[in-house]
């Protein structure tokens, strides 16, 4: 399957070329792994060991104290709650936002490919362009409308914002995927008297597995990792984990507990990391097949 002038290459320039290739690949693996290694290793050291030793050393005394502290007792802004409540905020925000935006994206993609109408390309173009706006341009009016809806500073408000600004991408993913789905099947079902929603549920949805995975991972990563909206619209008790991490790292009281900061950073990154480790390969394959096809 692979494009492989490499066989030829190996035969001619021999082992040296292979050695160079492997060392380069390993060198870059080190470059990509180093920051994660530093974060994890230092989150498992007592503080004075960080100060006296250096960051690449393995801990001589292993401790999970920094993790416990980051989770439940560290100072976040003014209160010593740890990251736990904000981790929960993020979950309460991510789950509904991902579910709603994915479902709407699937329906939109279905309509835009199987129930085409005059001007549908225009509608799609406008939804797609919305993916690329710099969010700074909507911050001021968004804050205002959330206020008027009574959703200012709430998790629900953040869910609404993330659903709206995720719709462009979810619609794009499903539209590109359903484009390749045979329209004849839909027409045949229609003639047999199946309704709009029956066709969606019984015919398209069962074969949408790959694109649902891509969309859910994409939305989950983007919403979990969002900092801008969280920092702009959340109140003290509704801030998501990324903003809480900022408050943890920058809280000026007392000594800088680097080990706790490291643990907090890994904690904040953990859900998306796990998702990638479990299904990253599937994600890339689906994304390439669906979205970047060009």
């Amino acid at each position: 399957m692979s494009a492989a002038p490499s066989q030829d290459n190996a035969a001619r320039t021999g082992i040296i070329a292979r050695a160079v290739i492997y060392s380069l690949l390993i060198l870059f693996a080190v470059y990509y792994l180093l920051p994660l290694y530093v974060m994890v290793v230092n989150s498992l050291k007592p503080l004075d060991e960080i100060r006296q030793g250096q960051m690449l050393d393995l801990p001589s005394t292993w401790t999970i104290e920094p993790w416990l502290s980051a989770w439940s007792t560290a100072q976040i802004g003014v209160s010593p709650t740890g990251l736990k409540p904000y981790f929960l905020n993020s979950i309460l925000m991510v789950v509904p936002a991902v579910a709603v935006s994915t479902l709407l994206g699937a329906l939109n993609g279905y309509v835009l490919t199987k129930w085409r109408f005059r001007g549908d390309n225009m509608v799609f173009g406008l939804m797609l362009l919305a993916c690329f706006i710099p969010f700074q341009i909507v911050l001021i009016p968004s804050a205002r409308i959330l206020g008027e809806l009574g959703l200012a500073g709430t998790v629900t408000g953040l869910v609404l914002i993330h659903v709206v600004y995720g719709l462009g991408f979810t619609t794009l993913f499903f539209r590109n995927y359903y484009e390749a789905f045979p329209t004849e099947l839909v027409r045949a079902a229609q003639i047999d008297g199946a309704s709009f929603f029956q066709i969606f549920r019984r015919i398209l949805l069962p074969s949408s597995g790959p694109i649902i995975v891509v969309t859910v991972i994409w939305q989950f990563t983007n919403i979990w990792n969002d900092f801008l909206f969280g920092a702009s619209f959340a109140d003290f008790d509704s801030i998501p984990i990324t903003v809480a991490l900022n408050n943890l790292v920058n809280s000026s009281t007392g000594v800088k507990e680097y080990n706790v900061h490291f643990a907090g950073a890994v904690l904040a990154a953990l859900p998306t990391l796990v998702v990638y480790i479990v299904s990253g390969r599937y994600f890339v394959r689906g994304l390439m097949a669906g979205a970047v096809k060009g």
């Binding site: 492989a4 990509y32 939804m127 700074q136 341009i137 911050l139 600004y165 990154a269 998702v275």
Partner: protein, 311 residues
């Protein structure tokens, strides 16, 4: 429009009830799409309009549509040293970020495409940084590059006393540390895009070139890399819009410092609107950001959508 004989007959026999259902079925797709489209019209295009109007007012702390200043905010913007610094930094950042990510992404993809043992092991290592937020990326690299605990300190404890790497503290060099971190976060994703592209190249073409006696380097330079044109374009669009939007990474690493050395347009907007109560100026900076992005994206989307229709 898709009614057939078989459908029309029952409509006639069963009367008005069935007719109403037919009409509903015809309208249903549009009804389903309508809420999403309405939300986007309001929250994206309506809000852009709101911000655009705001940028012509004298708003300070809150939106205020009673004083009109015309293009005054834009004039002030382009005369403000912080905005000029932001634009310069954006230029440095985006050129390096896009170029390095592309070269590194393509390079790694080509290396990985040489029938590498352990590819399945290496690929996720290159890719995982994209799972991390720009914020966590920034936090990690801030420590890693901090002279007192990071790389410089490590070199010193290893006995290389004269080693010095304190770019993150130096006004002139700090922006480059942000490039390093951003490249770390995104280059794996670009690699994945190129790898998918390389895997899609028709083997016959390569075989034919090999039979003609072309060397591996020649095959890549003359045949394979030119075939990657669409991937270059997609990568460029993805990276360019990320570059113009970049905000979290800067906040986490330097928060614009030292001084104003690492300000970028997104940070400028935030600081002026919410920090300095210069809302109208913040709005005009956001409008300029949007125009920069749209000047790249709109032609791209236009050609993509038209191309899609033809094929």
């Amino acid at each position: 429009m898709t009614q057939t004989q078989a459908e029309i007959v029952p409509v006639l026999t069963q009367g008005a009830d069935r007719g109403a259902r037919e009409t509903l079925q015809e309208w249903l797709p549009k009804l389903v799409l309508a809420p999403s489209f309405a939300l986007i019209l309001l929250f994206v295009y309506g809000f852009i309009l709101f911000t655009a109007v705001l940028s012509f007012t004298g708003s300070k702390l809150l939106p205020d549509f009673s004083t009109w200043v015309g293009f005054g905010n834009y004039v002030r913007l382009f005369n403000h040293p912080n905005w000029i610094v932001s634009l310069k930094n954006l230029a440095i950042f985006s050129v390096l970020y896009i170029a390095v990510c592309t070269v590194l992404g393509l390079g790694l993809a080509i290396l990985l495409d040489q029938k590498i043992r352990g590819e399945g092991f290496l690929r996720p290592i290159y890719l995982y940084p994209m799972a991390l937020s720009f914020f966590v990326t920034g936090v990690a690299w801030k420590w890693f590059l901090d002279p007192s605990i990071g790389l410089e300190h490590v070199m010193h404890t290893w006995g290389w006393e004269s080693f010095s790497f304190r770019w993150i503290k130096e006004g002139k060099m700090a922006i480059y540390t942000i490039v390093i971190a951003a490249v770390w976060q995104s280059s794996g994703f670009v690699m994945a895009m190129f790898l998918a592209g390389l895997r899609g190249v028709d083997n016959e073409v390569i075989k034919a070139a090999q039979i003609d006696g072309a060397s591996t380097v020649m095959i890549y330079r003359r045949i394979i890399i030119p075939l990657m044109r669409p991937v270059f374009l997609s990568a460029f669009v993805v990276l360019a819009h990320l570059a113009i939007k970049s905000y979290d990474l800067v906040v986490a690493m330097t928060d614009g410092g030292p001084g104003t050395a690492t300000w970028v347009p997104a940070l400028f907007m935030q600081k002026f609107t919410f920090g300095r109560n210069e809302m109208a100026m913040g709005a005009s900076s956001a409008i300029i950001m949007m125009m920069m992005i749209f000047s790249i994206i709109v032609p791209y989307l236009y050609s993509e959508l038209r191309g899609g229709r033809r094929s």
